[in-house]
Every structure is written in C-alpha cells, then in structure tokens.
Symmetry: C2
Subunit: 193 residues, 2 copies
Amino acid sequence: MGRWEPNARGRLAEAAMALYGERGFEQTTVAEIAERAGLTERTFFRHFADKREVLFSGSEELRSALVDAVESAPASAAPLAAVVAALAQVGDTFFAGRRDHSRRRQAIIDANAELRERELIKLATLASALAGALRRRGVPGPVASLAAETGIAVFKVAFERWVAAASEGSLAGLVRETADQLSAVAAPATEMQ
Amino acid sequence: MGRWEPNARGRLAEAAMALYGERGFEQTTVAEIAERAGLTERTFFRHFADKREVLFSGSEELRSALVDAVESAPASAAPLAAVVAALAQVGDTFFAGRRDHSRRRQAIIDANAELRERELIKLATLASALAGALRRRGVPGPVASLAAETGIAVFKVAFERWVAAASEGSLAGLVRETADQLSAVAAPATEMQ
DNA sequence: TGCGTGATGTCAGTGCCTGACATCGAATGG
DNA sequence: CCATTCGATGTCAGGCACTGACATCACGCA
C-alpha cells in the first residue's frame, strides 16, 4: 500500500500531528511518521520541506486569502480596520469547526522552541504580506507596516483566547473584540480605526 | 595548539562570522569553523548550542541590561517611554563602535531563512522580558506587552537604519527619532508616551 | 610532587535531509 | 487491447548537525 492510496500528503500531516502529540516533536522521527502513513521517509520530504513544515502547510493559502480580503476591502476602510476585518473573516473560514485540531496543534507548537521559531516567521511573513496589500491601497509604508504588525498581534491574542476558551465562540468575534480592547487601551483618542 | 590558546569561544565566533560571510551560512560546516579556530567540532558544540547560536551569543547580556534599564527608569516614565529609553541607552553601550561588525552580521542573517527565524525568536524573547519588567513597575499586562512589542518594532527599524546609514550616527539617536516618528504617525493625539 | 579539575580531543552513533536512479500505476494515444 | 509516457513513490548512498561516553591534557592546589 502507499503507492496507490490517495491523499499521501494529508495522511502524512495527520500521522505527524498524532505522533507529535503522543510523544512530542523531538521524540518523533520522520521515518516513524512516514511508516504510520504507509509511506517512505523520502516521500515525506517530497511533500514537506522539513520536519516542522508539516504543521504549517496551510499558511500559504491563509496568506493569499488575507491579501485578497484586504485588497477587496472598501476604499473607505482605515488601514487597521481593513486588516482586522480581513483577519476576522479569513480566520473564521479557515478555522471554523477546527477548534479542537487547532488546540492540539498549538499545544505541540508551544511545547517546542524550534516550532515556535517557525510559527514566528510564518506570522512575520503574514504581516509583511498584509503590509504589502495595504501599500497597494495607497497606505504609506510605515503606516502599512505598523497596521499589519498590530493586526497580527491582535490575531495572536485572539487566537490564543479562542483556543483556550471553554465554550464555543467564533474566532471572528474574538478578533474584533480584541481589536476593540487594543484601541481602547492603546490610543484613547486616535483615529487609526 | 588549541588546548591552551585562550578565548576559544571568541575564536569560534570570529571564525564563524568570517566563514559565514565568505561563503554563506549553509555552505559552511561546523568542522570548518572549528578548524579555522584551531579547535574541534565537538568543542564548538560545547560553547554554542547549535550552528546558528554562534551569531546570537550576546543576546542574554542584552536582555538583562534592558531589563535593568527599564526597572531603574524613573517611576514617572510612561511605559513606552521607559522601553524606548532603555533601548536607546543599552543599544548604544552594546553596539557603539561595532557598526561594521553589526553590518556584516546582519547581512549574513538577512541572507538565510534559518537565521532570520532565530533572530525573530530572540527579539520575541527580548519583548517578553521587557513586558515582564514593565509589569513589575505596575503596568497592566496588556499595556506592558503592547509597549514592549512596539518598542522592539521601533528598535528593529532604528537598527536597520543605523546599519544602512552611510555616515556615523548614534544608534540611540536613531531609536529616539524612530520612536518620535512612530508616535507622530500612529497616534496623533494619544498619551502613550 | 602528586592529584584533582575543567577544558578539550576522540570515537561512535542517530537522525535530518538530499541527489540519483529505479519502479510502479494510471492516463493517453493508437 | 497494447505501447508509451508521465507523475508519484521507492531504494540507496551519503553529507552534515548534533550528542553521549570516555580519554587526555594543562593547570592550580595541597
């Protein structure tokens, strides 16, 4: 089996999540992941650049969806407002119904420094893409970067809350709520939003 | 030689910088670094946790100096002001007279994704330490985190400018200048500073 | 002068990751 | 219905990062 079973990539990702969760990231070898997926170590590296990347395979789609959302926001929307709206909308479509999966994934990442590194660079890449989208809307560079970075910071906090929450609740709601709290705390009289 | 020559750690760091600069990070093996330092691969790993860490060995001292500076700031200083002042002061004492070294080091880091990952987690660690110091001054958690993250963002931009600048100029001055620009752009009417 | 101690060397081994080449299964065209 | 082709997978060999265990050396101290 393996040469003909469908969805090799998905099986690898699932096997990796399971093993990382059971015995930890460092204690899992790529050979074990491949074996559980009924494949070979070599095939794992054809689907994922390295042992960490298997946990971050969705980030490219997330990135392009976010960029699309920002670019199609009404021209009247202020920079940070456009970013927050994009994060709320796209976040919901990407994570709705996957809270349990997200929780397990985040626990794995939080438990390992290498995985935290990878997460940070993925978030930085998202911020940079958002800043680019804002600039294409005519937002000056520094403001675009600041709004993008702030938006990502908001998303981090909101995502953390969403994952930790006992009850079900939409990620989008938490993103907007967190953004409101930020503007209340950080800039009582500003017009950034 | 090697067993008795002094400053093994420094020789290793110097050899690594030189080789990373000459042929790139990936194209350099740890064995080559050790050989240039007159030591052994095994000894390299006794001084540095991994091949990347040799470029970030000063970050622990930087961290504790920043924390000290924030904690000893006048009680009247607002959170972001305290952070910016700490970054300006400590940045100067750490980097004064080492602009050329910093420039070469930054070029090496910018050229490699693994090194950028490591840099990001180091900066995140600094931000977290700064937020902790602010909280110890009585600043509420969310404000502390926001001020710390903002301060680090300011420092990143200022450092980038300092490294790129054609003329000599103090890093501290650029930090303060960048912070001023940020508050002018981001929050025209806020009282954060 | 002998002895302990910390730094370094040596050696063997594991695991991540890659290049080169073989092989299989399915689609395609005749 | 068969031959060809092509993409996905397997196999194999190897480089390099990193680690544990143990030996060895230089130095300080009794």
